[in-house]
Amino acid sequence: MSKNSEFVKFDKVDKSYDGKVLVVKDLNLDIAEGEFITMLGPSGSGKTTCLMMLAGFETPTNGEIYLDKNPISNIPPHKRGIGMVFQNYALFPHMTVYENLAFPLRVRKMSKEDIDKKVDKALSMVSLSGFENRMPGQLSGGQQQRVAVARALVFDPAVVLMDEPLGALDKNLRESMQYEIKHIHESIGVTVVYVTHDQGEALTMSNRIAVFNDGKVQQLSSPDKLYEEPVNSFVAEFIGENNRFSGQVTDVSKDKCKVKLDDGSEILANPITVKSNGEKTIVSLRPERALINTKDKMENNFKGKIEEIIYHGDHTRVRLNLLGNKDFILKVPNSSANMDIKLGNQINVSWNSFDARALDPK
């Protein structure tokens, strides 16, 4: 069976609540069958609205959403066959775990034996066998979360939507649930559309990530590409840590450009969005791509003064004053080689022009 690469398709979708502001602008998004796609963005960026339109709780103001090539705008939510895990789990508090899971099966008029079998299977999938007769209120947050996941999957939906499902859990539990959901996805191959504002979660779990801002998809690509090759300064800023230099392009060649910074110094960078001389730009550099006192030959070499040292266990974060940027962050692995990091010291910092991405100024 060949996988359908346009299993879910947003086609030129606009959404406005009040007729004045567009919450989602011209959204075009294809989701492949069996894919784990994450919609990532700050709150108010339109990602939850997209999810709600897909689930059928909001109607697109313009455009159409297709599910397996069928337009679904006029299909009510209960006929779409899309499973959903809600932010606060939305378990029915007056029903036992068994009844919660049996609900979607009962409304589909399945026989008692089939229901029992499916509920058993779903509960063992989230390792909650034996909890059938508990009420949701008697479960811990993580257990409730698993019941919610099991309930969204128990009726074998084609697509499962998850709306910040781990937001209410503490850090450790959140991380273990991330793996658990990822493994469930891998083992049953269901299409998952996941919404979160937590970039760590998105990077860990997804096949592809759609970064939302201002009602638009800023970048849609795999987690590593998103981190290594952000296409604009919003994505660079939003995903991971980022050192920024603002300046003006003075010379552009094929894969290199010279940028004159505000303090007068010039650096070499990788032109991504800049095209011509005189353009304003923001150069983005990941902290781990800048090295100190390295013996390798690199194109950019500068001296910076250490302003602050923050100890993080496995690495140390060093804040430098470099080329007029007082918030230049370096990540230094904790090894015996880096003993001369002291407050106020001048150190050499170098990086390759390829890693310094000259993006839009915004």
Binding site: P76, H78, R80, M84, F86, N88, A90, F92, R108, L161
Partner: protein, 417 residues
């Protein structure tokens, strides 16, 4: 466990329990003092009046104390034939004393409750008594009026002998203790209380149902609308609540009367002809309409407070899992509102069962309730003990309903707000 391990000492060597009590004592006294005003208030305004009511409803010492000699003499009487001369003499002496003290009127009233016609023969006796000669009182009294020679009246007198009586309770359910001491129903044409009890229950039940049917959508809308609209709606719900009860009832009178606005409207749209306007007031319809409107907020508020806590994502979950909107409502939303329904229904029902002003004003003859009857006995006949008895029966009824309700729904499931 051995006794040694059970006795735990504090570091100072005092037993832990003693130490704990000592430490908690101050807090307990403080807590008690804080609760004290409420406790006193409850005792003075609730326990005491109800106790007094209970006492009044069975207290029958007034007649007993007015006729001490008579009842002493009557102890020997078997109640079959007319009593002997000594009973008549004792009655004469007692009554003479009452006439001198000018308190005989009370006796006449009380005895008239027991048997009609007592009042007039007592008044006649009072007039003729001045000319009585000493001795042979039986002849003289029987000569005043022929009813004095009727043994029924003497039996009625004897029935009032005990200091305490449950006769008022029997009267409340249209029963009485007849001459032979059997409890029987009063003649059919005089059974008014039973009708009133049933009507009261019926009205309370239907008002509760109407309130529920109207309040549920309102409360749902209140709980789901955006804040700025729901506040406005809330004020619309509460505005009548803040208006005087009398004003509201009076406005219903203006609306519902035969020449009123509603009837005018019906005639205008041609629903009814001008000479055949329906009566919507001074009957049960008027009571239903006005009471439903007045008690509606008591249903809306508990329902609203429960619905407000139900997350909208539950309904969405129900729908996304494949339930039609109706199934999602019926299986998910409705069961979660049951605590509010319970609280609202109980509140409205209990208020409706004892409602007084509205049925008195718009109820007419066929729309008055048991509370109006109680008020009638409080104000007009001054038979306070009967009014107390009916009040207590009403209270017992409400408690019984509460008990049944607790068995069915469980009081823990009520949520008043």
């Amino acid at each position: 466990m051995s006794s040694e391990t059970q006795k735990i000492l504090t570091t100072d060597g005092i037993p832990l329990e003693v130490s704990l009590k000592k430490a908690e004592k101050k807090n307990k006294i403080k807590a008690f003092l804080l609760v004290c005003p409420l406790l006193l208030f409850l005792i003075i305004t609730y326990v005491f009046p109800i106790g007094d009511m209970l006492y009044r409803s069975v207290d029958d010492r007034m007649v007993t104390n007015m006729l001490p000699k008579t009842y002493k003499a009557m102890e020997q009487w078997d109640g079959k034939d007319l009593p002997e001369e000594e009973v008549f003499e004792a009655f004469y002496l007692d009554y003479k004393k009452l006439v001198e003290e000018k308190t005989f009127g009370k006796l006449a009233t009380q005895l008239n409750f027991e048997k009609n016609g007592f009042k007039s023969i007592l008044k006649k006796l009072k007039r003729k008594m001045k000319k009585f000669e000493e001795g042979n009182y039986k002849e003289q009294i029987m000569g005043v009026h022929k009813r004095w020679a009727n043994v029924e009246y003497w039996r009625a007198l004897k029935r009032r002998a005990p200091s305490y009586t449950y006769a008022k309770y029997l009267k409340g359910i249209d029963m009485y203790e007849n001459e032979d001491g059997n409890i029987v129903q009063v003649p059919e044409d005089r059974r008014i209380h039973k009708i009133l009890w049933l009507r009261t229950l019926e009205v309370a039940l239907f008002v509760t149902i109407f309130c529920f049917l109207m309040a549920y959508p309102i409360a749902h809308l209140l709980a789901t609308l955006p804040m700025k609209y729901s506040n406005l709606l809330m004020i619309c719900v509460l505005l009548p609540f803040w208006t005087s009860l009398l004003v509201r009832t009076a406005s219903w009178m203006i609306l519902l009367q035969q020449q009123g606005i509603v009837n005018d409207f019906f005639v205008m749209i041609g629903l009814v002809s001008d000479d055949n306007r329906p009566e919507m007031m001074y009957n049960k319809t008027g009571t239903y309409v006005a009471m439903t409107q007045i008690l509606l907020p008591f249903m809306v508020l508990p329902l609203y407070s429960v619905m407000k806590t139900i997350s909208p994502s539950l309904m969405r979950a129900g729908k996304s899992l494949g339930g039609t909107p109706f199934v999602a409502f019926w299986k998910v939303y409705f069961p979660l509102t049951i605590p509010g329904i319970g609280a609202g229904c109980l509140l409205v029902f209990i208020l409706a069962i004892g409602y007084y002003i509205t049925p008195a004003l718009v109820g007419g003859a066929s729309g008055t309730l048991i509370s109006n009857q109680i008020a009638f006995h409080m104000k007009s006949t001054l038979d306070w003990s009967f009014a107390s008895a009916m009040g207590l029966m009403l209270l017992a009824g409400v408690l019984a309903i509460y008990w049944v309700y607790n068995k069915l729904v469980g009081v823990d499931n009520i949520k008043l707000g």
